[in-house]
Amino acid sequence: MEDLSYVRTDMLPERDPPASEVGVIGWLRMNLFSGWFNSILTVIALAFIYLVLAAIIPWLWSPTWGAGSLSACREIIAELGKEHGGACYGVITERWQQLLFGFYPEELRWRPILTFIGLFVALAPVLFNETFPGKMLWFTGAFLFLAPWLMWGGPIWTPLLVAAGPALGFVAYRYLVSVIGNLASVIVAVLIPVLFWLFLVGPLSQAIDGVVPLGIEVVESRLFGGFMLSVWIGVVAIAISLVLGVILALGRQSDLLIVKYLSVGFIEFIRGVPLITLLFVASTLLNIFMPPGTNFDIILRVMIMATLFASAYIAEVIRGGLAALPRGQYEAADALGLDYWKAQRLIILPQALKISIPGIVSTFIGLFKDTTLVSIIGLLDPIGLTGSIRADANWNGIVWELYGFIALLFFISCFSMSRYSMWLEKKLRTDHR
């Protein structure tokens, strides 16, 4: 009997997918018009984009880079016969250096630029530890002392002597540890640099400078301004607050009740009040809290308050890092017989800090953005400078160009930092999902 069932014995050639599923059309169908609801959304979105661009682009397109005043801009725009006006970029041409560097002397501006470049080089081995050799960490260490010197100037001896402080402490520790025991020598090793900095560095530096004058011109912090000021406040505050933050985080995790409550109290207090109130403390009260006669300048006071502010947030980030470490790491450190500080230094903190880097970067972004608040207490950061620029009779009445320029600067820097932090987060995420 003949088998009537039909079995295909050869494969049919693969056919192209329907035209509506591939190429541009397919993509459009998939991503924009996959149903009536999506289609409506797409149309609304397109209309929205058109409206926004139609409003902004004609305004942005305005050949006023050479204008010397707002009225000159208005003339140029009137000549072009633009209906809705246009941007006046002359103010950016004239003032962009001021917006970037504040009143930093023009011939010395290579110093903040060098510091800024150095900052990247110093951070590279920390942030991209796979690409850059660990030896570069030596530069990072040296940069901590060089950066303030580059920014503020003064004799080269000051940063060298300041760097000598920890070295002295280390020598003292090595020498004393066998004589008076571990804890006592740690305390001495911490006290020596502090006392050295407070009482000896100043006179010593002056004395050496008297014999071998070697240094660069002093630039006082009141000349700091513009974008440089924001960056510098942010960098200094984060750098110092890393140390304070680690101490506070350890304090908060500590078994010692009083230490714990002091840390918790400090962290919660700082996190519970707005930064602007802390800046008011810096501008109106900090001098009252200090011994009669001391007088920090306002930028230094702002840096102190910003540091305290950042340290509370950094402490919480690091606490998160500490909590994220597997319990086994603590137990393994205990099993090896390491004491508390050794365990922290060799096992816990290196790992906890590493996984905290994304959090630290976002804290930095937040702080960096918040430095704009210093304009409210009269410092000339970019936003503060807009007020001064608009007080110039030539630029009285200008708004969007300045704010737009500042917003663009902030956007570029914050966006790239947040991208880095996301990349790192992805890299650190070791669980597979």
Partner: protein, 434 residues
């Protein structure tokens, strides 16, 4: 580690304070405490000495002096002869107002944006990404100033509504006016008048009660509002009872009686009757003199601050929401789909409730941030706590120490209250693990 070698009992030697682990922690703590107290003492003594040098004294007497300045946006009655304490109270209420409304708006926008960022509509998802990145990476102070400038520059001035052929017109049947001085919306009023201006005899408002006489914390309670709210609450309670009864019937007979209209009527009808009896009507704003008159005036400064704060915070909330949704494993979506639930309901019934547990803790800190950022009101002239107590009051009385400290403590109290309340909520929705 040292316990094994610790001598049992024995005489106490001072060196044991450091080397004996039984005493060491106590020693460290006491040293820390002494150090802390010394620090505080040092600060206080510096302050006392500095103030003495400046010839100033610390005192809160200034709070009872007349403030002397006016506040435009205020929730309670106030004039320039009232005390600094009352002016600060106005500021505090304004802070709370913008914080609460900001949190609500930020949550709504944030959730919508967060969900739309995961939309399969490419264009919409991209627009939302642009929105999130734009707002997250530019300082909030700039956004506040920006939104103020946009409101001022793009909306028409009240004069544009005037004349025979006005260039701007009111919305929604002449009841809402968008101007660059703010938005005027109808205001609920009671005790409607007849055409000659006499109150209707049997539909009268009840008036207000003044509490606390002339004290700085005095306030008025609108009796109409009390009556209306109690009617509404009573209606809701009755409606609940009906619902419970329906549940019982369903449990015993298996058939649920239709109660929707009944329940709605129980809530709506008595409230409407009460409103009608009290002569409820909407007071519409109308152009009079230089400005619109009547209605509720939401100042530009308030709207700009509110919009900027909530849109800025919404960008962060959107990321939190997105992260929360992505944290729910794909199996949940697939299981729900296998049960035949439609995609939109999967989101609202399966994904979001689970995501909430991931979302809530970071959400709390965003609420805190918004509340703290509301102190930037000063940049647009919204008279919040920093604008009154730490602003004009500080400036007119020269009491920096008192004003700044009080402001900090009040903000601290608000922050602690928010995080406390949210923690209670968080504990309630937390997955109970056994």
């Amino acid at each position: 580690m040292t316990t094994a070698t610790d001598p049992e009992g024995g005489t106490f030697r001072p060196s044991m304070l450091i080397y004996d682990s039984r005493y060491r922690s106590a020693t460290i703590q006491i040293v820390a405490l002494i150090g802390f107290l010394l620090l505080i003492g040092w600060l206080v003594s510096n302050t006392v000495q500095n103030l003495a040098d400046l010839g100033k004294s610390v005192g809160f007497g200034f709070l009872t002096e007349p403030a002397g300045y006016d506040i435009n946006q205020r929730l309670l009655d106030y004039d320039s002869r009232d005390s600094h304490a009352r002016a600060s109270l106005m500021g505090l209420l304004n802070t709370l107002l913008v914080a609460v409304l900001g949190c609500i708006m930020a949550t709504i926008v944030g959730v919508i944006v967060g969900v739309l960022r995961l939309s399969n509509n490419w264009l919409v998802a991209r627009i939302m990404t642009v929105y999130v990145e734009m707002f997250r990476n530019v300082p909030v102070l700039l956004w506040i100033v920006f939104s103020m400038a946009i409101l001022i520059e793009t909306l028409p001035a009240p004069s544009a509504f005037r004349g025979d052929e006005p260039s701007a017109s009111m919305l929604l049947g002449d009841s809402v006016a968008l101007t660059n001085r703010g938005v005027y919306v109808p205001e609920p009023l009671f005790g409607r008048m007849d055409e000659e201006g006499h109150p209707l005899t049997w539909r009268q408002g009840l008036g207000d009660i003044h509490l606390f006489g002339e004290a700085w914390f005095r306030f008025d309670v609108s009796l109409e509002l009390v009556v209306f709210l109690s009617t509404l609450i009573a209606g809701i309670l009755v409606s609940r009872l009906i619902g419970q009864r329906a549940d019982r019937i369903q449990n015993s007979t298996g058939v649920r009686p239709k109660t929707f209209w009944l329940r709605a009527a129980v809530i709506v009808v008595p409230s409407v009757i009460v409103l009608w009896l009290m002569g409820f009507y909407l007071g519409k704003p109308a152009l009079r003199g230089f400005n619109f008159d009547g209605g509720t005036h939401l100042r530009n400064s308030f709207i700009a601050l509110w919009l900027a704060l909530s849109l800025y915070t919404a960008a962060f909330i959107a990321e939190i929401v997105r992260g929360g949704i992505l944290a729910i494993s794909k199996g949940q979506t697939e299981a729900a789909a296998a049960l035949g639930i439609r995609p939109r309901r999967i989101m609202s019934l399966v994904i979001l409730p689970q995501a909430m547990r991931v979302i809530i803790p970071p959400l709390i800190s965003q609420y805190l941030n918004l509340t703290k950022n509301s102190s930037l009101a000063i940049a647009v002239g919204y008279m919040d706590l920093t604008g009154t107590l730490m602003g004009i009051t500080l400036n007119q009385t020269g009491r920096e120490l008192e004003a700044v400290m009080m402001t900090m403590l009040i903000y601290l109290a608000i922050s602690l209250a928010i995080s406390g309340a949210m923690n209670v909520y968080n504990n309630r929705v937390k997955l109970k693990e056994r």
